[in-house]
Amino acid sequence: MARRVAVVGAGMTKFVRRAQETGKELSWEASRAALDSCELGLKDVDAVCLTSAPDAFDGVHMKGEYLSDGAGAFGKPFIRTYVGGGSGVFTAIQAWYTVASGMADVVLAVAEEKMSSTQPHPQGAFLTIFDNILERPLGPNLLWIFALEMNRYMNAYGLDKRDIAAVAVKNKRNAADHPAALLGQGDITIEDVLASETLAWPVQRLDVSPISDGAVAVIVASEEAARRITDRPVWIDGVGWNLDTAYWTNRDLVFPEYVANAARMAYDMAGITEPRKQIHVAEPYDPFDYKELHHLEGLLLFDRGKAPEAARDGVLNRDGDLPSCPSGGLLGVGNPIAAAGLMKIAELFWQLRGEAGARQVPGTPERGVAQAWGDLMQVGTVVVMGRDGASAPTQATPALSVIQTPPFATAGHALSEEEFRSATGAVEHDLDARYAWDAGVAIGRFLDGLEEGLILGRECRSCRRILVPPRMFCERCFRGTDAWVEVEQTGIVQTFSICHVRWDMQPLDEPEIPAVISIDGSDGGLLHMLGNVAPDDVSVGLAVEAVWRPESERTGSILDIAHFRPRGEA
């Protein structure tokens, strides 16, 4: 059977808007802090695990290799894994199997992000996460996917924005006690959040976590090594991860099934049968306030649609029944993507050892769960951690005295925008990366159809679905799809957003209305724009129809459909 594996040390840099350090230096600062926290040196490390989210941010191809020296990988086994926003928590999973497999006794696990390198605004790099042929031409802003999901979630349960805003308030207040936090604010209120600028309705500025630079590192060890290193190891009791289909427009966005799958995998391994009772502290992924609630439900800690009232009732506060994001989360500490996820692992490490200082959750929390999320609303990564005695909760455990958090977050030099612009030695680079993506059989034919003014789908006769966008393989049945089907040109709005900023965050003169539209006669949907309609007249469930460009202007593109308008409108 697999060896027991524990986290024995942790360190991080401050999370800042613009770091002076290179990504390598940030990685080193965090790694060094983690090693120092358990009095180990680089020579004690058998292998290095690194995660970092898109190369597009730091601006280096094969970014993992570039960062590797800062992550202590010189002369060592080194692998970078990458599951988008889920990466940070996955670092701990990667470290877990590296040790559990017997390939290493002590692992340095590092997560780094330097988003400030991207110009003119890091948000712009997110354009490239969307489907290269069917979505990017629409100029999608990352905010869209959150707004679309948030709208769907709120709509499904009739949620009050106040309850969602309560999460942002909780986390930013919690973060005021985090030495590394970028956006801690002890006196923020729900009214502040509700009054902030609407970026892409229903998403407002204070619902969103800030773009940041930073790095976090943890030391992970086998049981034997762990007991030599510390008298308070925190065990990795369960790990789980799950990736849903890329065809996100075909999914109901109300419940993150992939988070639940990952959670079940982790709980199963940890022997957790009643998560709500057996998990004492949670660090769910909170890039936006509603996401924390969405994820708490996905983690099976609250029933569907019930997390918001927990936020409202204070259940999720540090002194509540199930403290959630006692660190301050991404909303409060900052969001250097991968580092933010690993920060949650570090937080549970400190919480379960009683070393979280002013952020310490009262009582003697024995078990915690950290979770991250990413890709196109697709991946869930979950880790359950527990301290000694956690698996036998009936034993009396001594109360942990609250001690000062060891100094772990002093590094990370923030630059002002002015300093960033004028830094000696700074270099600019405009990447010349050009592609001619082969549309292949399915999308090639789909584009042919669009050029002819038709929407085509593929039929899988096994699961009896008509797939839009079409694919030559059915992802459910894993078999070739059978036939082409011409589907309707009408559909229903599943969710929508009113977006006031462009993909690069420049303000729009007129708001755009992106929507996920289910296509009649199919089991699929498309991301597209709504037109010929005032924002106030748009609702979930609105019946719409495609408006085509004139035949002579069609080229075989998703833009051959100019937009969708309410049915019956002339």
Binding site: G59, G72, F74, T118, A433, R434, F473, G480
Partner: protein, 155 residues
């Protein structure tokens, strides 16, 4: 797959880019290195005593033992040519108008090498020969690696 494309005109390609632009800070150590290069025309390295290794350009940390380092050691301007190559094509394989020689120099006092252009590389080069770093004149340096014009053979 039950269907394939067998006719050339049915193949569709979608043109696209990866539209990103970046501004890279040189880092804590890089900042010291480039400031010294620009203002004083000196090349600063970092010495790790534990590893007996001097890095150039200066570094914040030793990659071998993780010790914190400072930009504390002046190196060069002379050194030994460790390797060189003569480039005939550009990034996409397109022929260059003039071949360009790039060399690695281990500067006196350094253990690592510096990568740069070899100037006036008409005479055949030999690995091991003495070269020196040629800087842009005072007042023309801006604090980048291009403040170094290149490497030149020393006779």
């Amino acid at each position: 797959m039950l269907e394939k494309i067998a006719l050339p005109d049915e193949v569709r390609r979608w043109d696209g880019e990866f539209p990103v632009r970046h501004r890279y800070t040189p880092g804590v150590a890089g900042s010291a290195f480039f400031t010294a290069l620009r203002d004083r025309g000196v090349l600063l390295g970092s010495r790790c005593e534990a590893c007996s290794y001097t890095y150039v350009p200066a570094r914040l940390f030793c990659e071998r033992c993780f010790a914190e380092l400072a930009a504390d050691t002046e190196v060069g301007p002379g050194g030994a040519l460790v390797s060189f190559t003569i480039g005939f094509v550009g990034l996409e394989g397109e022929p260059l108008e003039e071949p360009e020689t790039i060399g690695l120099v281990r500067l006196d006092g350094a253990d690592s090498v510096l990568v740069h252009r070899v100037l006036d590389a008409d005479e055949p080069l030999e690995i091991g020969e003495r070269v020196e770093v040629v800087l842009r004149p005072d007042g023309e340096r801006t604090g980048t690696i291009l403040d170094i014009e290149g490497l030149r053979s020393v006779d």
